[in-house]
Subunit: 264 residues, 2 copies
DNA sequence: AAAATAGTGTCTATGAGACACTATAGT
DNA sequence: ACTATAGTGTCTCATAGACACTATTTT
């Protein structure tokens, strides 16, 4: 951002810098005092989505400490002072979920004062997509659990989303993480309609029906089979592999792959 | 230069939702050390859009100091330690643009290390829309100029956007503000296709042609008159006022208003 | 043969673009 | 009367939904 010496802080009286004589840049930089104002903490939180069994799933981690001890939280961590936001999100996925090279995109930033009762924490939220095979491939950090996402609203209306375990018992989320989760669901529902992010939730090869079921799970409603097939094939994002499904007790479908995944 | 954030411990003992023994919680809070890591600065920057004369316009402020002295910057400022991000963006609009009650929405957060040469600064970018009448209504902060936005890409391809003055002379932007501006243009182009944000750029009453011209300016290409009219009337977002244009040298058009602007 | 899903062809409804035509203000 | 834009009606084309029908595998 901008001119530090011009800023108006609502809380503190800014230390006045002497603007009298024009300085050289080096002198200005040396005089710059970043400690003049209290800075918030900046964290990244990642909503890691996958789809399996016709359900949207996400990973949450049980909090071992206060605040919200015993509640569940999105994987997250502080952004290092020399670390980019994207790099911090990738590091969180690596350290807490043992996953890398995922589809990862910034979602929004949540900074309501009081969202963390300890101190001012501004969280830059990301969402990531992973196919279910890789989702179960690695060990997680301690206390991690894959829950089912419950979305109490239709379409892209927006609102909070909740997480339940395999027995449909609620996994209450800490901080404003149910709000972040809801925003992430809203985002991927919107993106699904005009970008090919559905492929990220499937393995290298998949049938059109599997792709349709992923879309239906994310969107929360059924889709027309015929038009879905036509729309996908017309999108140019799919390549037929020439291979067929096997081991199914019905006519096997052709396997497709995402056009850019191996179009190097 | 490193940020030496001397922010000390959390203010008060929070009452969390989790029942816990006082002793346990006190121990935790004592061990929590917010000063253990250097914190970045957090700012908000606002892309203020308006449309006039068939051009997309934005407000930039000339930098009086290093770094990027003499370059132009988006209006911005630090987020106060007890101030929400939205409130900080509203304050920036009030202080630097003398405007309030605008359509304002968070865009994205930009945090590449080195984007500010002084210290680590993470900027939460917003965009705001204002009709051209209000845009010219008030005094600005010193050095503010309304420039024309030049978008060197089509549709929602994305990329940087530039600003030029009335003589088409470039107004080079400081920091990564051309990237932020480009992201803001991409966002409003996308939103225009499925939400009625175009109304925010017009006054209380407007003709369908004026609305179409706003859309064409934002999108950067011409629209079909017939289908635009049908689409807008079918959207349910418009209400006919019963009043007509006057003082034009052709058949006057009916004036419409945004359905929710006074439907309270 | 039966069951189950894959995949194709075709009809219809809807919405956008194109274009023609009429209407109404100012000059 | 002339001009410029407002506003309506209609034709065409592209796309989505619906539905019928055939194809191919396992049991």
């Amino acid at each position: 951002m901008l001119c530090v010496d011009k800023m108006v802080d609502p809380k503190k009286t800014p230390k006045t810098t002497e603007p009298a004589s024009p300085r050289e840049e080096a002198e200005f930089l040396a005089s710059y005092d970043a400690a003049a104002y209290p800075h918030p903490s900046v964290t990244v939180d990642v909503v890691l989505f996958s789809v399996s069994g016709g359900e949207l799933r996400t990973l949450v981690i049980r909090r071992a400490d206060h605040p919200f001890k015993g509640a569940w939280a999105l994987p997250g961590g502080f952004c290092g002072i020399d670390e980019s936001l994207d790099a911090a999100a990738e590091r969180v996925l690596r350290q807490k979920c043992s996953l890398s090279d995922l589809y990862l995109e910034q979602l929004a930033t949540f900074g309501r004062p009081g969202r963390d009762p300890r101190t001012r924490v501004i969280s830059v939220a990301y969402y990531a997509l992973v196919d279910i095979a890789r989702f179960h491939e690695h060990e997680r950090s301690a206390g991690a659990e894959v829950g089912r996402v419950v979305v109490p609203w239709q379409g892209e209306a927006g609102g909070m989303a909740h997480v339940v375990d395999a027995n449909n018992e609620p996994l209450p989320l800490a901080f404003d993480h149910e709000e972040i989760l809801g925003a992430a669901v809203k985002r991927i529902r919107g993106k699904l309609n005009y970008t090919p992010i559905g492929f990220q939730l499937l393995g290298e090869r998949f049938t059109l029906l599997e792709l349709q079921q992923v879309h239906e799970t994310v969107l929360g409603h059924a889709l027309n089979k015929d038009s879905f097939r036509r729309r996908m094939l017309a999108s140019g994002e799919l390549r037929a592999t020439g291979h067929m499904q096997s081991g199914v007790d019905h006519r096997p479908a052709e396997l497709y792959r995402f056009a850019t995944k191996s179009a190097v």
